[in-house]
């Protein structure tokens, strides 16, 4: 059977935006989702390990860094979930025919994402509101390490399910046989050659981004506790460096797992794709260089340079990821074939609101920064743990 006969059609309605703009918003949305999502995935494992190593001394840098990371996790989870809305929306709009189909084939694990997310999200709060509440003890730190590990396994499972769906949607040839096997949505895409390297690639990236996050905490702490700040920047840079070096063989494995005719596009077969791929290689080298300096001497400018390079690097990799999707789906899914009737009025409202939102968030962040610079005005037991934690990561030893 011709595979094109299996690709569901778009609805007989026009698209509300030009295709290029939808693609752009999909990319931008995914970028904003990927940043906090990486901190959540890597941060949980790192916090768990740090709690474990620092469990016997609450003044140890490990323990304090673990606590800082653990307390910020719920916020990162919230950002990751919220920022996931935009890419999900545009993925459904542009690539719905492929994405809905693969989701239906793996409906049960796909819905399982929600249950796992709910459980892991609440564990992140249990750690800060129950486990770490009150006086410190080694046992509490160990329990926190264990709970964070359970939570992180949950997030890692979510990532695995996502990787399954994101790769299954690229392979229309697998759909019909899977559905004929069972229509109850119990499938995964586990036989996929690119599954393991792709997942590993993302997982290592999450550790690297967590390293950068620790360094950012170090920058925030610089005036309060210089030694701790220095330790955070160095350790964060080391984590980044180690995972990025591991990324080199992982990346090569990923490239090798792709069908040769598609891998060729990244290696000179297409100018734009190759340029972005080359840029990402160059940025990786730069990031490694800067992070070596930051890891060795704790240099703040070098760390900031690594941070910035990494932010651009993630963007280039996201663009390459998107291009790979297009390469796979171009023969089957054709968003350009749908008529466009741009909703200019609503688009204008959206853009104005987006600018207003950014301005509002800037104002709100300033308010928060000011609030946390001042000592607390009322020592009340109900005050939130973010306040207590900033106090706890702050004291000099």
């Amino acid at each position: 059977m011709e595979l094109t006969n299996l690709i569901p059609g778009y609805q007989p309605l026009p698209f509300p935006l030009p295709t290029w703009l939808m693609q752009l918003l999909l990319l931008l949305g995914f970028y904003l989702h990927a940043l906090p999502m990486n901190v959540v995935l890597g941060g949980g494992f790192v916090a768990s390990a740090l709690f474990f190593f620092g469990r016997s001394d609450k003044t140890s840098y490990s323990y304090r860094a673990a606590k800082a990371l653990a307390v910020s996790l719920p916020l990162f989870i919230s950002f990751a979930v919220t920022q996931g809305i935009v890419p999900l929306l545009f993925l459904q709009l542009v690539y719905g025919p492929a994405f809905y189909t693969s989701s239906i084939l793996m409906a049960a694990p796909w819905l399982g994402v929600l249950a796992i997310l709910l459980a892991s999200y609440y564990i992140s709060y249990i750690v800060i509101y129950r486990t770490l509440k009150g006086e410190y003890s080694t046992k509490k730190a160990s329990v926190a390490a264990l709970l964070l590990l359970v939570m992180s396994i949950g997030f890692a499972a979510i990532g695995y399910i996502f990787t399954n769906n994101m790769t299954l949607m690229l392979h229309p040839e697998k759909w019909l046989p899977l559905y004929q096997q069972a229509a109850t949505g119990m499938h995964m895409n586990s036989a996929e050659p690119q599954l393991a390297p792709r997942y590993l690639h993302t997982f290592l990236a999450s550790l690297a981004v967590t390293g950068m996050t620790l360094g950012c905490f170090g920058l925030y702490m610089v005036k309060r506790d210089e030694k701790f700040s220095d330790w955070m920047i160095k350790s964060g840079s080391r984590l980044f460096l180690a995972s990025t070096l591991l990324q080199i063989p992982a990346g090569l494995w990923y490239l090798k797992s792709l069908p040769p005719h598609l891998a060729a596009y990244f290696l000179g077969g297409d100018n734009l794709i190759t340029t972005i791929f080359a840029a990402s290689m160059l940025l990786t080298l730069l990031a490694i260089l800067f992070s070596v300096i930051a890891a060795l001497i704790g240099s703040k400018p070098a760390f900031i340079a690594a941070l910035t390079t990494n932010a651009i690097l993630i963007l280039t990799m996201i663009i390459n990821r998107h291009q790979l999707r297009m390469l796979y789906l171009n023969p089957y899914v054709k968003p350009d074939s749908v008529a466009v009737s741009t909703q200019w009025d609503l688009l204008a409202i959206f853009l104005v609101s987006a600018v207003a939102l950014i301005a509002y968030l800037v104002w709100l962040s300033k308010l928060m920064l000011r609030a946390f610079k001042k000592p607390i005005t009322n020592d009340d037991s109900t005050t939130t743990s973010l306040t207590s934690t900033t106090a706890e990561i702050a004291p000099s030893t």
């Binding site: 919220t82 109850t184 709100l364």
Partner: protein
Amino acid sequence: MNYPLWVVPHIGGTWVIGIISIIHVFISHFAVGGGIFLAFAEELAYKKNDDRIYDFLKQHSRFFVLLTTVAGAITGVGIWFSVSLVSPDGLASLIQSFTLAWAEEYLFFVAELATAFAYYYTWDRISKTEHLFLARLYMIFSIFTLVIINGILTFMLTPGKWMVNHYWLDGVFNPTYFPSLGIRILIMLAIAGMYALVTSSRIKEPRFRAFMVRYCAKWLLPVFILGPIFMVWFLTQIPQASIDTIFTGIQTSGVGNFSVLARALYLSMVLSGTILLFAYFGPYLNPKAFTFRIAIMFMVCGLAVTGTTEWMREMLRKPYVIYGYLYSNGIHKDDVQTISSQGFLNKGKWASALAQHANSEEERGELIFRYQCLACHTADGYRSMKKLLGARDEEAIENFLQILRKTDPKSNNYTGIMPTLAVNDAELKSLAKYLSTINVEERHHAEQVGAKPDVKENASTVQ
């Protein structure tokens, strides 16, 4: 028919959406109503300069943040996930029409969440005036998320002028938009009161507990005074067929029988009345005797009313996902005629691909059952076909299906609640053949006890 169809044994796909939605509605209504509550209660604390109210609000806001930002947000995504699995054509139609509206809602949602965290983490860290300002901002942002999503939800029941011009603004501000917005806000206030009753019941100091319990109980009252007005307004705006579905059900279901929808309506009204009476005679008139257990009872009743009412709202829209445009089984209303003449199994991408591999008439019939019936029925669970078919034989089933195929309400009583069966003659026979394999046991049993299936009578009672 465009997509592979997810088969959910026993409960059916609708209940997967239903369970997630009911939980989400109860929490998300709290997110909006609770935001209004926090702003007003903080204003009260500010005016009275009463630290006890502030302390109460700190406790309550933790509960609020933990519930709405986690369970509320995730069940919201959950509805989206589940609808995409059960009704991809429906969701795709909505997304192709309202992507930017959703994107706009997302902006408000980000503002809402950021403000909720800022509000919660800045207790005692910024001035009381600034904190009150944050509470009010949260209230405004959360109301705006409702203002947008209400447009898409009501659009599905009453698409109004959108049917003619496909213009998003006409879709959003459709005939039931304003009455529905009013009802929802009133319900949100009541739900906020119920949640706050739970936290108030935990206050240790008796006099202050009585004060707060009474204050929270007042939040349950507006919906009972203004609710009926908005409800009548709402009912005047929905299609006549939906009203008929509530009050008469299937017209021939027998004199004296309430339709299942009417029963749901009465249950919702009785439960609401119970809450009102309990709220008035309990926490409002006698706040001192109010306990945590009673508060939980209110919550259970509240959840039951929410579940029943939302279920009813969904039922009102039957047999459509988008009223008058797209049937709940993913078939466009306008395509029914073409499909009936050309055949269903040649039309949809996946339906026709699967039909090529169907080796027998039963298998082809099963495919039609899957694509045209499973959206609302299951073989042996929720709205079980086994039960509904009774002891009918193949011929009786075929006669019944002939009725379902008619588009004229005079000859097909089911047009108000079931999509027109879109099949050609051969496919109708295949479907009948398959359906007759589902109820073999029932037929066998009927033969044993000597009952004779009456085709005419049976045909009229299948619902």
